[in-house]
């Protein structure tokens, strides 16, 4: 789960990370009031779950509260990478002597949280990694022992020469790690970590992603979810316990299991089609899920054909068949539907479908070919 910059900063502040004062606003008037309260120059920052906010014009410097209001009015409602800005963060502006990058990411290969730090901050860390990897220090942390002081120092020394700044940075490393662990994060980033002309080390921007699997343990984090900041169809899918990612194609896909779902999308592409989505109905079948899946997919006007690919293991294919029947009775489909079912209770499922006027195949290859052809205006084979 992604959270906003202002929320990530709150989590870091709770651990003691030094961060310039600021507050979130949903209206230009609120933005002005916050700027008034902070005094001096402020930065107005779009709060959306997307990178490149600066380039998109979502981050602006305001000299006066009135200017903060004007800028907020411009940024609120703006579209950044397809997402509408509903909130801005108004925060005290800092003078910057130098910028560094600090991040922790849960790493598959080392099976550990790994710190990444670089003196090349503020800019895109991926670019640094690609062009000058020696400018990044990667340090895996063994969670059995936690981040040790000597490791925090090592990270600090990689960023700074002056021992005072090293110690300040080391302290921030410890606080960032604490925030990462306490909140079940999969990513926690401070970029840039800046040194002010006065020599203070402060976090100017922050990003935290929470491992979705942790949310049951952290209801207070679930409360940070901002559904207005997400693609509405993805919100709807999550509430229906479906894993759904919207794409640009025209073949809507309903599959059980992420691996098979991806393989199905690949096969759509293989036969010249374009998948309209990734959709995994998950393991335990439930006719309701099928109903929700069909509703979400048919809401997308670019979908020209729908493909079901279900390999019944835990999933009972008769449940899926019942779901298809229920959904299409309530809302008759206006686009073609291709069904592939095999596995648990296959005979029963086939009977349910036939009795309700559907045909179904047990062969994946054949079903995908059909769906692609139908999306392209052809006929089902």
């Amino acid at each position: 789960m992604n959270i906003h910059e202002y929320q990530a900063k709150d989590l870091l502040r709770a651990e003691g990370v030094p961060i310039p004062a600021g507050d979130v606003a949903t209206t230009p008037e609120q933005a002005e009031a916050i700027a008034q309260r902070l005094g001096g120059m402020v930065v107005v920052k779009a709060q959306v779950h997307a990178g490149g906010r600066g380039k998109a014009g979502g981050v602006k410097l305001a000299k006066t509260p009135a200017e903060a209001r004007l800028l907020a009015a411009k940024i609120l409602g703006m579209q950044i990478k397809g997402l509408t800005v509903h909130k801005v963060l108004v925060t005290a502006a800092s003078d910057i002597a130098s910028e560094a990058y600090v991040g922790i990411i849960l790493d598959r290969a080392t099976r550990k949280p790994v710190f990444m730090v670089s003196r090349a901050g503020g800019i895109d860390i991926e670019e640094v990694a690609a062009t000058t990897p020696e400018k990044i220090l990667k340090l895996p942390i063994d969670t059995r022992f936690g981040l040790q002081a000597y490791q925090a120092n090592e990270l600090g020394f990689f960023l700074f020469d002056d021992i005072k700044k090293v110690r300040a940075a080391a302290k921030i490393m410890t606080q960032l790690y604490a925030a990462f662990m306490r909140n079940g994060a999969s990513l926690a980033e401070i970029n840039p970590l800046v040194v002010t002309p006065a020599g203070d080390v402060v976090a100017l921007d922050a990003k935290i992603s929470i491992d979705d699997n942790e949310l049951d343990r952290h209801p207070e984090l679930e409360a940070l979810r901002d559904e207005t900041a997400e693609e509405p169809s993805e919100v709807e899918a999550r509430n229906a316990h479906l894993t759904f990612i919207k794409l640009e194609g025209d073949v809507g896909c309903v599959v059980n299991g992420a691996g098979l779902a991806m393989a199905t999308m690949d096969l759509v592409k293989y036969y010249g089609g374009e998948p309209a989505n990734f959709l995994d109905i998950g393991g335990s079948s439930n006719p309701e899920k099928v109903v929700s899946a069909l509703r979400i997919i048919t809401e997308d006007p670019s979908v020209k054909a729908i493909l079901f690919n279900i390999f019944g293991g835990i999933t009972r294919t008769d449940d899926v068949a019942n779901g298809i029947v229920t959904a299409t009775k309530a809302n008759p489909l206006r686009i073609p539907l291709v069904i592939r079912l095999t596995g648990t209770n296959e005979e029963l499922a086939m009977k349910i479908l036939h009795d309700n006027g559907f045909t179904a195949s047990s062969d994946m290859d054949e079903a995908v070919k059909q769906a692609v052809a139908l999306a392209h205006g052809g006929k089902a084979a």
């Binding site: 991040g103 990411i105 849960l106 790493d107 598959r108 290969a109 080392t110 099976r111 550990k112 949280p113 790994v114 990444m116 860390i125 991926e126 990694a129 990897p133 990667k138 063994d142 969670t143 059995r144 662990m181 079940g184 999969s186 990513l187 980033e189 992603s209 491992d211 979705d212 699997n213 942790e214 049951d216 343990r217 990612i245 794409l247 599959v255 059980n256 299991g257 992420a258 691996g259 098979l260 991806m262 393989a263 999308m265 690949d266 096969l267 759509v268 592409k269 293989y270 990734f278 393991g283 335990s284 390999f311 019944g312 293991g313 835990i314 999933t315 095999t342 596995g343 994946m364 290859d365």
Partner: protein
């Protein structure tokens, strides 16, 4: 022969009285798996289906039954504890089916299990099956047939798809292993490939990977260096949108973006046959055996 499990494997089920646990225990018993006990704290002394004794703890179960293997169907917030309990109680092979285990939990479970000398499969995996002998987990038994193809996969239903095609083509399996798709899991592709290489009854291996991480690239390197048996591989996710999960930052660490193209290239470089479609495994394997 086979890898990891065979007809002598004795299994206890953690979470045997839960919805999923009880359903799959029944399925495993019907398949012929030696289920010797179950664990549900507070239900010690009862039985499952009138014959399988239930215990309050894995320690109690192991003391009473001498089980060497455990399969876990507990809710995600309890899974880390269940894996550690099994390892601590002396279980040698732990199969965790549970989906949704917090990844940070696994950063502690993994070294714990390793210290205890146990092998962990999963979490978030379908388990494994040695057709005709034993199944531990949820892979549907009737799609499998005994034979000489080793199957290893990061995904559940995609595995079923491939196994189904192999079986229909008369190509039985020595063992089919689903290692699970979570970022941190117990048994890797390499662990399975090494075991298949050693198993005299495995003549070729089908491997199904996914985008993300670099496990498949490392597996390819292993195949090139250490395997004499033919391997055919598939990568799911060629059309998946980039950067929707851990994507980029993870890629910086592993030095790989984890794309399908990268992985397929690694397969080709290692002499692994590349299945473009799940249905291509049959022909590619036949051509190599």
């Amino acid at each position: 022969m086979s890898i990891f499990i065979d007809k002598s494997t004795t299994v206890i089920v953690q979470g045997i009285t839960g919805r999923d646990g009880s359903f799959h225990t029944q399925q495993m018993i019907e398949y012929g798996t030696k289920i010797v006990g179950g664990v549900t704290p507070g239900k010690g002394g009862q039985t499952f289906g009138g014959s399988v004794p239930i215990f309050n703890s894995v320690h109690d179960a192991v003391r009473a039954t001498n089980a060497n293997t455990s399969v876990i169907y507990v809710p995600p917030m309890f899974a880390a504890d269940a894996m550690m309990e099994a390892a601590d109680a002396g279980i040698r092979f732990i199969v965790c089916i549970t989906e949704g285990v917090p990844v940070l939990d696994m950063t502690r479970v993994h070294p714990f299990v390793r210290e205890k000398g146990a092998r962990l499969l999963g979490p978030n995996c379908p388990g494994l099956i040695t057709p005709g002998e034993s199944k531990v987990g949820i892979i549907p038994g009737r799609i499998c047939a005994p034979g000489n193809i080793g199957v290893v996969s990061r995904s559940g239903t995609l595995t079923y798809e491939v196994v189904y095609q192999l079986t229909r083509a008369g190509m039985g399996q020595s063992t089919c292993v689903g290692i699970g798709g979570d970022p941190i899991n117990g048994t890797s592709f390499i662990d399975c490939l090494a075991a298949f290489e050693k198993d005299p009854d495995t003549h070729a291996v089908a491997m199904m990977g996914e985008i993300g991480g670099s496990d498949e690239q490392e597996a390819a390197e292993f195949v090139a260096k250490h395997m004499t048996k033919p391997v055919v591989g598939f990568i799911a996710g060629q059309t998946a949108p980039p950067g929707r999960r851990m994507g980029h930052a993870g890629a910086i660490i592993s030095g790989s973006a984890g794309t399908a193209a990268e992985k397929i290239e690694a397969f080709e470089k290692a002499g692994i046959g590349v299945a473009r479609r799940p249905m291509d495994f049959v022909e590619l394997l036949k051509a190599r055996m």
